[in-house]
Symmetry: D2
C-alpha cells in the first residue's frame, strides 16, 4: 500500500518555470536550470524541476502579444486525448516519447521532475470525439461542457463517471511511464467559474488521487490556484500533498503582507505529506518569458521576511528565478541552512500575534528539540517590536514543547548574532529594532 503522505516527507523544494518563462518554457531552459540546481542547490535540499503551463501548446509565438493563452489553438495531443509536449519546444519528445527523455535527464542529475497540468480533458478532443484509453466513451461524453476554466481555454472538466476515472488513469499511466515525480494541477484548488461553489471540481481531486495510487509511482500532487478554502482542509489533506493558499503570488509587498493572514489561517494544517502552499518565490531575475525580464521588486528585507515565513510555516519552496542568472545575494538567501532547518513538518509553527503592523511566530521541532521565534515588522517604516515571554512560552507549549524547558540564549539566523540570557529561564521578552518589512528569527537555546 502506498501512503501519499510518504511521497513528500518534507515540503517540496525546487524550481518552477512560470515566474520567468510564463507560457514560453522550452527544453533548453529546463535543462539549464536543472544543471544549475544539481551543481549549486541540490546539496541544500532543492530537488524538483517543474515545467509549468502550456508545454503542449503549439506555436506559442507572436500571437502571445494578444493572448497569454491563445484560444482554440491546436494542442499537441496523442490518439487518446492526452496532451503531449510541443515538439518544437521540447525536441527530445520527438517520436511520441513525451517527457520521458527530459525526465530521465533530470533524474540523471539526482533531481526530480515535475509538470503542470490543467484539470480536465482537451476541448479539441471533446469537439473531435477522440478516443479515451480504457473507456468505451469518447472525449465528448467524458467532458463536462459546462465545466471550464475562467482564464485558460484549453480544457473541459471531466464528469464524475467511471469513464472519467479511466481518462485520469490513462493520464497517470503515461506520466508514470515518462517518469514524472510531481504534478501541479491547475484550475482545481479554487475554481473561479462557479463562484458560489469554488470547490466544484473536488471530484477531480479524488480522481487524480486514485489514479496516482493506481499508477504505482509516488507522484506528489500539488493543487492550484488558490486561495484554498479552509473549510475544505480535510479534503485537501486526504487527497493531495500541497494546495495553494493564495492566489498568484508576486513580488509585491501587499501580497506578502497578506500571507501573514493566510498562514495564521492554515497554521494547524501543516503535517507530513500535507502542505499548505504559499506559492513560488519571486526572487532573482523573473518575468523574462515575454521579454519583460526584471529583478525581483522585493527588497532584501522583504525577501528574508518571505523566506523566514515560508520556512517557519512549512510551505513548499519553489524558486521562480531563472537560476542561471542567480546573483550572490539571492543565492545566499536560498541556501541559509539555519533557515531551511525550520522547514520539516516535525518543526511545528504557531503564531503568537498578528495585526496590521506586526506579527510574531514560534516553531518547535520535536525531533531536534529546537525552538524558534520570529518577529516581523509589517509597517512601512522602522519599528521596535517585542513579544513577552509568557506568550512565547504558551505558543511553544501549544506546539509540543515541554513546560519544564529553560532558555539560555539564542542565535539570530540571518545575522548570526548570538545572545545569552543573564540567568537561565524564561526570557522576559524578545525584542528587536526592525527596518520596514524586516524580520528577526532566533533559534532559542534551551536546556
Amino acid at each position: 500500500m502506498m501512503n501519499k503522505n510518504t511521497f513528500a516527507k518534507t515540503p517540496p523544494m525546487g524550481w518552477n518555470s512560470y515566474d520567468y518563462y510564463d507560457t514560453t518554457v522550452d527544453e533548453a531552459a529546463v535543462r539549464a536550470n536543472a544543471d544549475y540546481m544539481a551543481q549549486h542547490l541540490k546539496e541544500y535540499g532543492w530537488e524538483y524541476v517543474v515545467v509549468d503551463i502550456q508545454w503542449y501548446a503549439k506555436g506559442a509565438g507572436s500571437e502571445r502579444v494578444l493572448f497569454q493563452y491563445i484560444p482554440f489553438s491546436e494542442l499537441e495531443m496523442d490518439e487518446y486525448s492526452r496532451l503531449q509536449p510541443d515538439r518544437s519546444r521540447f525536441p527530445s519528445s520527438a517520436g511520441g516519447v513525451g517527457f520521458g527523455p527530459l525526465a530521465a535527464y533530470v533524474h540523471s542529475l539526482g533531481l526530480k521532475f515535475g509538470i503542470h497540468i490543467m484539470r480536465g480533458i482537451p476541448r479539441q478532443a471533446a469537439q473531435a470525439h477522440c478516443p479515451v484509453k480504457g473507456s468505451q466513451l469518447t472525449a465528448d461524453r467524458i467532458a463536462d461542457p459546462s465545466s471550464i476554466c475562467g482564464w485558460n481555454p484549453d480544457m473541459y472538466g471531466v464528469r464524475d463517471i467511471p469513464e472519467g476515472q479511466a481518462y485520469y488513469d490513462s493520464l497517470l499511466e503515461l506520466y508514470a511511464f515518462w517518469g514524472v515525480d510531481f504534478i501541479k494541477c491547475d484550475d482545481i484548488c479554487n475554481t473561479n467559474l462557479y463562484q458560489q461553489n469554488p470547490y466544484s471540481a473536488a471530484h477531480e481531486v479524488e480522481m487524480l488521487h486514485r489514479a496516482i495510487e493506481k499508477c504505482g509511482r509516488p507522484i506528489v500532487l500539488s493543487l492550484s490556484p488558490g486561495p484554498a478554502l479552509i473549510e475544505k482542509a480535510w479534503h485537501y489533506e486526504t487527497f493531495a500533498n500541497m494546495w495553494r493558499i493564495t492566489d498568484d503570488f508576486w513580488d509585491d509587498w501587499k501580497l506578502l503582507k497578506a500571507m501573514f493572514y493566510r498562514c495564521e489561517l492554515w497554521q494547524e494544517h501543516v503535517s507530513e505529506g500535507c502542505y499548505p502552499d504559499c506559492d513560488m518565490l519571486p526572487v532573482g531575475r523573473i518575468g523574462g518569458g515575454f521579454g519583460q525580464e526584471r529583478a525581483s521588486r522585493f527588497t532584501q528585507a522583504e525577501q528574508r521576511t518571505m523566506m523566514t515565513l515560508w520556512c517557519l510555516f512549512g510551505s513548499p519552496l519553489m524558486i521562480g528565478a531563472e537560476l542561471t542568472k542567480l546573483d550572490a545575494e539571492t543565492y545566499e538567501l536560498l541556501t541559509n541552512r539555519d533557515i531551511l532547518d525550520m522547514l520539516p513538518p516535525s518543526c511545528r509553527p504557531r503564531q503568537i500575534f498578528r495585526d496590521e503592523e506586526k506579527a510574531a511566530w514560534v516553531a518547535y521541532d520535536s525531533e531536534k528539540k529546537a525552538a524558534y521565534a520570529a518577529l516581523f515588522n509589517l509597517k512601512d517604516e522602522a519599528a521596535q517590536l517585542s513579544a513577552d515571554g509568557g506568550s512565547l512560552m504558551n505558543a511553544l507549549m501549544s506546539v509540543g514543547m515541554s513546560r519544564d524547558v529553560s532558555f539560555t540564549g539564542g542565535k539570530e539566523l540571518w545575522t548570526g548574532e548570538c545572545t545569552e540570557l543573564a540567568t537561565e529561564g524564561l526570557p522576559e521578552e524578545i525584542r528587536a529594532s526592525l527596518c520596514a518589512h524586516g524580520c528577526r528569527v532566533w533559534r532559542l537555546e534551551i536546556v
Copy 2:
C-alpha cells in the same frame, strides 16, 4: 429611423414549441400549429409562431434519453459560422434557404414567425477557426472562451469588439432575409455562469439591438432566461422588447404563486414595446417532446388566475400547448375577449396589496377609460377576500384614473355576472368568495 418600441405595440401573443416539443420540434409540427392558430386563434390577437431551442441540432434522436442537449454534437452551420435548421427536421430548408420557406408559409397565413437562438457563436466554429462574414477575424478570435452557458453546450459568448458586432450583424442579415419577425435569445437575460455578475452578457444585448436596427426589419427582441434583474430594468427597456422575469415557468402552483411577487416587482416597467415577460402558458397538452405528454397540472381556477394576472399585468402571452390537441375549456380560456382586453400597455396595472395568502390588483386603460379590479386567493383552501374602496381608488388614481370618477357597478369577466351599486360613487369594498387559488376580476362601470 426605426424605434424598437413600435415593433410590438402590445404584448406579443403567440405559440412557442418548447412546452410540448422541447428540443424535438420539426417543420410539420410548426406548420400544424400555425394552421390551427390561423383558423382558430388569430381573430383573438394570437399571431406569433415561435420555433424554440436547437432547431439546428442534428440527430436529435435516441441519445436525448441521456442528454437534453447532446454535448459536442455536430450542428448544422453555414460557411460563416451561422447555424442553420437541421435539414432532417426542417426539409424546406434544403438548398441553404434556411427558414425562408417556413417563414413564408407562416406569413401566408397572416401570422408572424419567430425563432429561438442561443447567445454567441458555435463552439464548433471556434474550434475549427471558421470565417465570419464581414470580419477579418475568424470565429476563434470572436468567441470568448470563458463565456459559456451553464446548461447548453452549443456556443461561446462573443467578445465586445467590432468583429463581434460584425458576427451579430451577419446573423440578423440572415434572419431578416429569412423573414424572421421575432427572436427569443437565450442565455442572455440572466446568465447563470458567473453568479456574481448575472448580467455579464449585457454587451451582447446591445449588439443584438444594433444588429436589428441595421437589418432594417422590425424584429421583436425577447430575452431569456429569467429572472431578469430589476436593477437592470433601464437596460432591458432601452435595448429589448421583452425579458423573462422568471426562471422557467411550468404548471406548478408554487411557481404561479411566486409570479405575484415578480409582478409586484416589475409593475411599473410595462410600457409600449417594453414587456416584462411571465413566460409561456403551460396549458392544454404539454411535455410530448420526449414521449411524456400530459395535460397541464393546473386546475381551471389556477389557469384563470394565471390568465388574469398575465393579462392584467401586461405580460406577453405564449401558448405552450400543442394547439391541434386543444380542448374546449383551454380554448375558452385563451379566447376570452374581456380578459384579453386588459393586455395593451394603455391599460396600466397596479397592485393594491399582496401577502402569502392573497393579492389584489387594479388596472386602468386610459384610452378606453376602463377600470379593472381583481382579487386572488393564494391560499390552498377557499377564502373570503375583499379590498376596501379607498385602497382601490388610490391604486386606480396612481395609474392615471381621474379623481372625479363615479362607479355604478361591475362585470365579473370569467362568470359574466354583473353587479350594480345601489348608489353611484365609490364602493365601500369589493369582495368575493374564492376557491383555493381562484380569482375574480371585474371591469368596473364608471361614469
Copy 3:
C-alpha cells in the same frame, strides 16, 4: 378619504437644519431661516422648514466633542413616552405645548413646518416602563429590545402589535395637534442593523402611514436613510411620499457622480405623491453646527449638475445651507425658474445613456407639452458630448411625447442661449463642450 399622494402633488421644496446645524439646531435658527425663506424663496416654490435630528436631546453641549449622539443621555419626554422639544433650545415649547407655537409661526409666514423623528419608542421609556396613550401595555412591552438603530442610541423599534399602532397613533395625534406638515422618519428606509434584512422595519412604515390617515392632517411622510431598496419600490410608493435613494449626500463629487446610477435605477418610480429622494442640497454655508462652518466644496459646475439632475429627475429639494448666509450665486442657483419648471411629476424623466464618463437625459411635461434634454460630463476634464437624434426621440416617446412632433430649436437653461434648427424636424444630434463635471440642459422648442 385622504389620499396620501395628494399631500405633495409636487416634490417638496424646503430647508432642512441638518447640513448646517447637525444635532445643535435651536428655535432662533429655525425662525431666522423661515423668515429668510418667506422673504426670498417662497415665491419660487420653497415652503417646508424642517427641524432635523435630536431636537429632544437635553444638554447638547460640550460632550458632543466625543459623541454626535450622547448615549443614554436624558431625553425630553412627556408622560406618554412621547419625545418633546428640548426646552433650553426651543423656549416656545415651555408649558408642554411642544412645537405648537413654532409651527404656528412658520404657518404665519405662509410656510409649512416639518420635523425629524427616529423610528421607535425611547429607550428610557422602555427601561422605565412608561405608559403609552391608548394602550394597556407600557413602553417595555411595546419596544422590541432587539430592534435598534446602529448609529443612534435613542430608541427601540416598535413591535408589530395593536399596542404598537396605538403608540404611533398617539404620536401623530400629538404632531397633528402641533401643526406638523412633514415628518422625516429616520432609521426606517434602510435599517443598518440586520444587513440581511435591511427593510426589517417595514411594518413601522405601515404603522406610520395608518397613524397619519387617522390623525386627519395631511402630513407628508419622508423615509430615511438610504439607499432605499429598489425591490421594495411598491411598498415605499404605497405607504410613503418620499424615500432616500442614497446614503447621506454631501458635497463630494464621488457621491454626486454615483447619483446618476441611482437616478437610472429609480427613474420610473417618480409620480404624483411618490418621490425617490436624492437628499439635501449641500450648498452655501454648511457644517456650522460643531464650529466647522465651510462653503460647499462643490464647484459651480457641480452645483448646476446637481440642480439639473435633481429637478429633471423629480427629487424633493431640501436646502442644506444656512439661509441667512446665502451668497448671490447660490441664490441664483436655487431660484432659476426654468430649471425648477422641470420638477413636477407631470414632467417625466428618462435616461438616454450613462457610463463612467457621461450621461444624457430627457424629460417631457405632458401638461405643458415641454421637452427637455440634458448632457452631463462625468469626467474630471473637459469633454465634447453628444446624443443622437434617434435616441433622443426614442427616450422622449417613452415618456409620453407624441411621434409626430417637430423640433424648431432650444434654449439652454443655465446660459439662456437659444439655438434654432435650420430645418424643422428631428435634430441629427445635440452636442456641447462641457467643462469637468459640467452640464447643459435645453428646453426644446417643439411644434
Copy 4:
C-alpha cells in the same frame, strides 16, 4: 505565569442547567444535581456544575409564558453594575455574598462550580449611569449602545477602551472571590447582530482572557453560541478554552447528523486546553423548566452515536438531563469508561471519510498507544458499512501512529465484543451491520 491551556487539560465534563431548567434554575436544583454528581458520576470524571442563563433575573415567573427573556425587567445588580444572583431563587446569596456559598458547597463535594454570563454590561446600568469599579467612567460610557444581543435584552456590549477592561476586571475579581471555576460567556462566539461581522465582539473575548489572567484563579473560559467561525480558530485557541461549533444542539437527528460536518471542520483544532465544543448532551429528562418535561427524543442508537462522536472528537461533555431523574440506560451511556477513555487530547481524532450516508473516524492516543476506529450509519435505515485497511492506516498515521504497528484484533466498546485477526498485520477492512443512525467503535489491539 498562568497558562490558560492548563486550566482544562482534558475536555471539561459536567452538568449544565439549561436543557432542563432553561431560565428557571434555582439553588435547590443546583444542589440536588451537584449531590447526584458527587455520588454517582464524579468517579467517572464528571466534575463541573454550571448554572446557566439569567440567574440574575428577578421574578422569573408567570410572564415567561410570553417571553423567554422578559424585556427590561429589573435585574439583581450591585453598586458597580455587576449582576448578582436573584435572591428569591438563590437564597444563599443573601447579604451580598453572591454565589460564594453555593460555590463553596459544590467545592465541598469535590466538584467545580460554573456560571453562565451574557457578554457586556447591563442595559439598566447604562440607562442609570451606574458606577464601574476601577473606572472613572460610568456604565453609560462603557456600554456600546449599538452592540446588543439579538435574542436577549439584558446587556450592551462593552467598548474597547481601558475602562471597558476595568469593568471586566471587576467582574472577574468578583467571580474569583465567589470561587467560580468555569464561565460560559454567551453572545460572544458568534454574535448574531451584525451578520456581516459575526465575530464583532472579538475584543471582548480578549478582555475576558486578560481579566481571568489578572484575577489569579484558573477559570475555564467557554464561548457561546455557535457556530464558531473556522477562520477565527487561532483567536479562539489563543484566548479561550472552548467554543461552540454549533448553534443550540437539541435531541433532533438532523442536528446530530450535521455535527459530523462540524467535527470534520474542526478536527485539527483539538488540543490541550483548546476544545471545539459540540454543546450539551440532551439525554435523560429535559425541558422541565417551563413544565414541558420530556424524555430525550434520541433513540439509544443515536445517543451512542452522539457519545462516540463527542468523545472520539474530544468535545467537552455537559449533561443536559435533570440528574436526579436519570434512568439506568442513560446512566450507563454516561459512564462507559471505554468510551470516555477516548476523550483526552492525547487521543487525536481523524476522519476517514464522510458523506450524506456514512462516516468513519479513527483516533490515536499517543500516551496510551491506543488506536480506535468507528463507523457511523447516517442513513435512516440499516446499512452495511466498511472502511478499508489502507485508509484506516493512513488516517491513524496522520494522527501520530507509527508505520510499523501490527494489529491483532479489536474490542467493540458498546457491546464489548472482541475480534481477533487471523493473522497479525493490517486488517483488510473493518465492517459492521448498523441500524439506522447507529455506530460501532473499536479499540484496536496493536503490537
